[in-house]
Amino acid sequence: MRDSILIVDDVEINRDLLEEILEDEYTIIKAKDGIEGIELYTEHIDDLAAVLLDLRMPNMDGEEVLEKMADMGTLAKVPVLVISSEDSLASEKECFELGVSDFIHKPFDDQLVRTRVNNVASLYMYKEHLEETIEEQLKTIHARNANLIDFIGSVVESRSVESGDHVRRVKAYTKIMAEEMMESYPEYGITEHDVKIISRASALHDLGKIAIPDNILLKPGRFTEEEFEIMKTHSMEGAKLVEHMKNMWDEDYQKASYDICRHHHERYDGKGYPDGLKGEEIPISAQLVSISDVYDALISKRCYKDPFSKANAFQMIINGECGQFSPKIIDCFERRIDDFEKIADMQMSAF
């Protein structure tokens, strides 16, 4: 609760006079010079509704106090009103440039002092309240987006009865891969924010399977060539669906989801689908999801195969038996295989 006023003035009578004028409405904290002022300011920063600051003081003058406050980055939070008897306009301009909100002119007038302090203080508190509200709402929106993406992912997953919590594991592997890539290969320019976006968007990688008929999607055993061609359309179908969700979420989500849907079956050697992209033509988000998807498919039981052991799955990927990955992707995978295996061992409820 911001209910305190800090008065910084070297003249005791001025401090006491301002205290009397304001003490009905605020808790008053008084400092006799700039040094004491900054000490008390730092100590009470979360309780302060405003600071009343004299400019001419011994030890540390008001200007220096303002510079220190600017360095602390708190001038936007707590308004400073300068106590002034200087009637020079130039110095008022300089004060505004230094971040001062308003002035208390001498001689002090009971009503004017109250009104000015109340006005500025309530404006800043209202602003702070709005900023906090917006920040909370942004958090809510982001969480809602993420939940929605997870939900859509799990709807798709629920059609393929055998895949269990595949979507959630792929998301966890993708996060590990993206973190490792950010650390080890800064050339991709992956940020903490990107890690979040890519891992969340990975939940949608098989979105296009919604367009695959049951007799193919759920077929036990091998696909015919024709069936496989239909199965392969899920990448493009997913990308098209993401395109239709254009105004639903942030652009960065949109882009990552699109790239992941469309390109998570591309291969580094150009032998993947649907576009046959080669090497770094494949968006990094899709490369990260691709290896995660392959690993999870290997260790899981599917209607057409039994699960491979974790050791086998690791070897098969390293040996390029499941399609080629970039050397950097393989390097990240090798570095974090312990984390992959931990997730592979987790029960569904652990997510």
Partner: protein, 116 residues
């Protein structure tokens, strides 16, 4: 304390001070605080040491206080003294202005003390 009398005796503006500070009780308390304040003594110490910055600072303080308490005459003389030292060493003799500050300040303190 008869504040009207105090202000009449020291060349102050009672209507102004009561208009701004609202209650007689408050004005009386702060007027007494002024009589006990040391800014004038600090000013004289700065004069004795030829400390220009100090003279500026304490005449500035006196000016501010007399503004707040509507001691019109003292405000005028202290303001004049303050201006002479605003940019460091004064360009003219300041002894006459200083005498007026001393006289005006004494009038204020005497008026307060004699009406206590």
């Amino acid at each position: 304390m008869d504040l009207r009398k105090v202000y009449a005796e020291c060349g102050g503006d009672y209507e102004d001070v009561i208009g701004r500070l609202i209650t007689e009780e408050r004005v009386e308390r702060f007027v007494k605080k002024f009589a006990d304040s040391t800014d004038y003594d600090m000013l004289m110490e700065a004069v004795a040491q030829n400390d220009h910055e100090g003279i500026f600072r304490y005449s500035h303080n006196l000016k501010g206080l007399s503004l707040n308490l509507s001691f019109t005459e003292l405000q005028k003389s202290s303001s004049e003294l303050c201006e002479l030292f605003r940019n460091g060493a004064p360009t003219e003799d300041y002894s006459e202005v200083l005498e007026r500050v001393t006289r005006d300040r004494k009038r204020v303190v005497d008026a307060i003390r004699s009406n206590e």
